[in-house]
């Protein structure tokens, strides 16, 4: 009996503590500026073991909250070089992109009271070199790398581009750099770093050795774990557990007066379904892009305060062909398939809330495509569902229809096998819907999944699949957009400023497009070379190149674009206001950036 009583009292204790828990947490949020609850989309699976280190993929530095960059990229449709201020308050870009001069926030201090100076920026750049960023790279072939870092004064830094191999993305590469406190991190790189870097710029064995010396620092920098978070961001990390991280306001932040919330709570997630649950319970003040099924969307909308903000996300998903495999080497087969696939239906089934059906295949997301191509866009073949056209294309390719089934020209059965990674349920359902549509049209089709994404990508790259899902249109930098179609995966790579083409099946060329395409109304083009040019071409020329590439992609169909992603974000206006509107250029930055810019206010 005594034991039973003990158990009962234990249980009641648990009940009391549970109620206590809910009361304290609501009590906490009503005081001061409140707790802003969100998740970090870049960090699924918070890890208590992660160091307080922005370069570490599991580091407990969260962009916009306690991890600061020089500037925050605007989500512009076509211009990659627009930013909101971060550590840098303002900047001047040389007209030829040869240099950028940064002016740091004048009154910015680290959370421990030390001022943020040009020295911090310089050391952070040294650290970036060890990790190999786009602007700060010791790789001799890298385009758009910095050649010099110069401290003009305590709050001014000038960074120049190596103009022997320039890139339009140089400025973006610079601004996209993390800044950490030099007084904490100074031991992470050797004192003679800049001398070594100078040596690394040269040629020959000496330079080789210097480069090796710098990259050898990578592991050490990555594992560097300050004991305590010293941040120049609006928040500092207070504590974490395997489920959540708690950040508190940094009084020394330059814009601290305008920072709304007192605390930020980052929830952990390992799968989307968790985010859905958080959203339905109304816990989250903001959730970055999350794929959501239709019914879940409805439920989320029913929770008081929940709202959806949609914006442009420069990602599209496409079905990519391996043209080394028959019959996909034949453009008519690819076109025929494009005519048979009902993209509206696919999108409705697989990504009703996170995507819009691609109007056609250009290799560019619909939104920037309008900006880049203008009226030309409407002239492209839209590949609307059209069984008659499909049959015509198939016949042109020599396929035969017997007993309601399409067969290969030699009469052998044709099995359309589409590969997707098993963990991506939206891709899996899309692939399944594609095969259902094709089966109905007499193309015998099936879905094959790979156990996980790494396996999928390595097998895709090894040319093991006929057809697979592939992300395209990664903007806004135009080179990034087209290197997904006519880049390394299709045989073209840039080495030391020169374009090189590898034959299908070699050096990761699994798409195997022909090297030149005779584009109607343009003539013979080498799409890979055109893509490479996008890296260096001035803005004025870019438009023309993109137009040619869009036509080539639309005619030759190395991929069939299925849907364009929509950056669907969730906000809850019960506790805070000031969220970005639809199509805001801040939607691809974390809510930490919105907060530090002073937008988010307690209601």
């Amino acid at each position: 009996m005594k034991r039973v009583a003990a158990v009962v009292s234990l249980l009641s204790l648990a009940a009391v503590t549970v109620t206590a828990c809910s009361s304290t947490s609501t009590g906490g949020s009503s005081a001061g500026g409140g707790v802003f609850t969100t998740i970090d989309g870049f960090k699924p699976g918070l890890d208590v073991n992660g160091p307080i280190n922005p370069w570490n993929p599991k580091g407990n530095m969260f962009q916009g909250y306690n991890a600061m960059k020089l500037g925050w990229k605007k989500n512009h449709l076509t211009d990659p070089n627009q930013f909101y201020p971060g550590i840098a308050a303002s900047w001047e870009i040389a007209p030829d992109n040869s240099s950028i001069t940064l002016h740091l926030q004048p009154n910015n201090k680290w959370s421990d009271g030390t001022p943020v100076t040009a020295e911090d920026v310089k050391l952070s750049i040294a650290l970036a070199y060890t990790q190999g960023s786009t602007a700060f790279s010791v790789d001799p072939g890298a385009a758009g790398a910095a050649s010099d870092v110069e401290i003009i004064d305590d709050h001014t830094v000038k960074i120049s581009q190596d103009m022997s191999n320039p890139s339009v993305t140089f400025v973006r590469g610079v601004m996209d750099s993390f800044v950490v406190p030099a007084h904490i991190w100074k031991d992470a790189v050797p004192a003679n770093f800049w001398d070594t870097l100078k040596a690394a710029r040269g040629e020959g064995a000496e330079a080789e050795k210097a480069r090796a010396e710098i990259t050898a620092q990578a592991d050490k920098v990555l594992a560097f774990a300050p004991a305590k978070d010293v941040s120049a961001g609006p928040f500092t990390l207070e504590r974490m557990n395997p489920g959540e991280a708690l950040l508190v306001k940094n009084k020394n932040f330059y814009n601290a007066a305008n920072v709304g919330p007192d605390q930020v709570k980052l929830l952990n997630y390992t799968g989307n379904e968790q985010i859905w649950n958080y959203l339905i319970s109304g816990k989250l003040d903001n959730a970055p892009f999350t794929a959501v099924p239709a019914d879940v969307m409805k439920r989320i909308g029913q929770t008081p305060g929940n709202a959806v903000v949609k914006g442009f996300s420069p990602v599209s998903v496409a079905m990519a062909f391996n043209q080394s495999k028959k019959p996909y080497d034949n453009v008519h087969v690819r076109r025929g398939l494009a005519y048979l696939i009902n993209r509206d239906e696919i999108t409705k089934i697989a990504s009703p809330e996170g995507g819009t059906p691609a109007l056609t295949t250009t290799g560019i997301h619909q939104k920037p495509a309008e900006a880049w191509l203008g009226s030309e866009l409407s002239e492209l073949e839209p590949y609307k569902l059209d069984v008659a056209k499909a049959e015509k294309e198939f016949k042109e390719a020599g396929l035969k229809k017997t007993g309601g089934k399409w067969t290969l020209p030699d009469g052998k059965p044709w099995k359309f096998t589409i590969n997707v990674p098993a963990p991506f349920s939206d891709w899996v359902s899309a692939a399944k819907a594609v095969t259902s549509q094709l089966n109905e049209a007499g193309v015998s089709a099936e879905v094959l999944t790979s156990a996980d994404y790494p396996l999928y990508l390595s097998e895709l790259a090894a040319g093991k699949y006929d057809v697979g899902f592939w992300l395209v249109a990664l903007g806004p930098a135009p080179y990034n957009i087209y290197q997904r179609l006519y880049g390394a995966s299709n045989g073209w790579s840039i080495l030391g400023g020169k374009i090189k083409h590898s034959a299908p099946g070699k050096d990761g060329n699994w798409m195997g497009s022909p090297e030149t395409i005779d584009v109607k109304g343009v003539g013979k083009v080498n799409p890979g070379e055109l893509t490479g040019k996008l890296n260096t071409a001035p803005e004025s020329e870019q438009k023309a190149i993109i137009s040619q590439l869009a036509k080539a992609a639309n005619q030759d169909l190395p991929v069939i674009q299925l849907w364009d992603y929509v950056n669907t974000q969730f906000i809850n206006t019960n506790r805070f206001t000031g969220f970005p509107e639809n199509e805001s250029d801040l939607l691809r930055e974390t809510s930490g950036v919105w907060i530090q810019l002073g937008m988010i206010k307690k209601k």
Binding site: N56, K58, A223, P242, T270, R588
Partner: protein, 346 residues
């Protein structure tokens, strides 16, 4: 006269010899299992860097930033021939160095394992002990009432729960308590708003978060205990000494104790073994309830191709099972006088 069974000197020597034998066999086993798992793990195909990159850009990170985030990991990828890697790995093991994690670069595998292990151990231990207690009590009842409807029902429900896979239970519980009647949290370990430590709020939050995993684990293992205990009791009931005790006019309470102690003996072994298995056993529960234990970590390590971490996890599971086997045997030695004196277990 001493009536208390203290192992004699010869008993201690026998135990020591047993232990030495176990340890030697255990070491060989560890060596073999490690080698096999090394070979399998290092042959997993896949490109974790590409996967990471694609995921980040899909998530909305710019291609440049994603590329940078991926580049940093190359330093942690194993290099050299398989044989060199193997030697390195074994050398590391000999120094109790499991290598560095790729998922959490720069962090020792041991640290990652330990921090995940605690979230598996606590709930699974609680679940196992809970189900063990309830299971053996109801098991005795089911054995005594085995000719009645109640006993039948207990046995059938036990078999059903024992037979059902954990994920079915977990999904059902999750559907009920997080979807239909959302009264319990769907993931995590504790609300971060509570200062970790020995305060009511934090512990309450811990209990709240652990409820579903613990209950699922307890339900799914309870069936096994009730069945095992029932059959053990039925076996003991048929033993001659029980009839003998009855014919000597022993009190019911004493006979009951005879039955209970003899019947529970084999279950202790199973308990020890199942505690050893717990390190590898909660994958589904942790995946469904997003509980950050070893199972979830293992899945992450596989999808992230974190070879060192995978190897460490396999090693941990193996070592735990071996230790549990040894513990079970030693436990037997302590509680079963037949083994204690060097004889064979019945």
């Amino acid at each position: 006269m001493t009536l208390i069974g203290v192992p004699g000197r010869s008993g201690v020597i026998a135990v020591a010899r047993r232990l030495a034998g176990h340890l030697a066999r255990g070491l060989v086993m560890i060596l073999v299992v490690t080698t096999i798992s090394f070979l399998i793990i290092r042959n997993i195909p896949g490109d974790p860097m590409a996967a990471k990159y694609e995921k980040l850009v899909e998530q909305g990170m710019s291609p440049e930033a994603a590329q940078q985030a991926v580049n940093v990991l190359y330093g942690f990828m194993p290099t050299g021939s398989m044989w060199e890697q193997y030697l390195d790995y074994m050398k590391g093991l000999a120094r109790f160095d499991l290598g560095q994690s790729l998922n959490v670069p720069g962090t020792g595998v041991g640290t990652v394992l330990m921090s995940a292990a605690k979230w598996t151990l606590i709930p699974v231990l609680a679940g196992t002990l809970l189900s063990f207690l309830v299971g053996i009590i109801l098991g005795v009842y089911a054995a005594i009432k085995r000719q009645s409807k109640v006993g039948d029902l207990l046995a059938i429900s036990g078999s059903l729960l024992h037979g059902l896979p954990q994920y079915v239970l977990a999904l059902l519980l999750a559907a009920i308590f997080t979807t239909l009647i959302p009264i319990l949290p769907a993931g995590g370990t504790a609300d971060i708003m509570f200062e970790p430590g020995f305060n009511a709020g934090y512990i309450g939050s811990l209990i709240q978060h652990a409820t579903l995993p613990v209950v699922t684990y307890a339900l799914s293992s309870y069936g096994g205990w009730i069945l095992a205990m029932k059959s053990s009791v039925v076996t003991v009931l048929g033993d001659d000494f029980i009839l003998a005790a009855e014919l000597r006019g022993m009190k019911r309470s004493i006979i009951f104790r005879y039955i209970a102690r003899n019947a529970i003996l084999p279950l202790f072994t199973i308990l020890a073994l199942s505690l050893g298995m717990l390190f590898g056993g909660a994958i589904f529960i942790e995946r469904i309830f997003n509980y950050p234990g070893l199972g979830l970590m293992l899945i992450d390590s596989i999808t992230g191709r974190d070879y060192a971490l995978m190897g460490g996890a396999f090693l941990l599971i193996t070592v735990a099972i071996i230790i549990a086997n040894i513990a079970a045997d030693l436990l037997y030695t302590v509680i079963d006088p037949r083994v204690r004196s060097g004889g064979e277990a019945a």
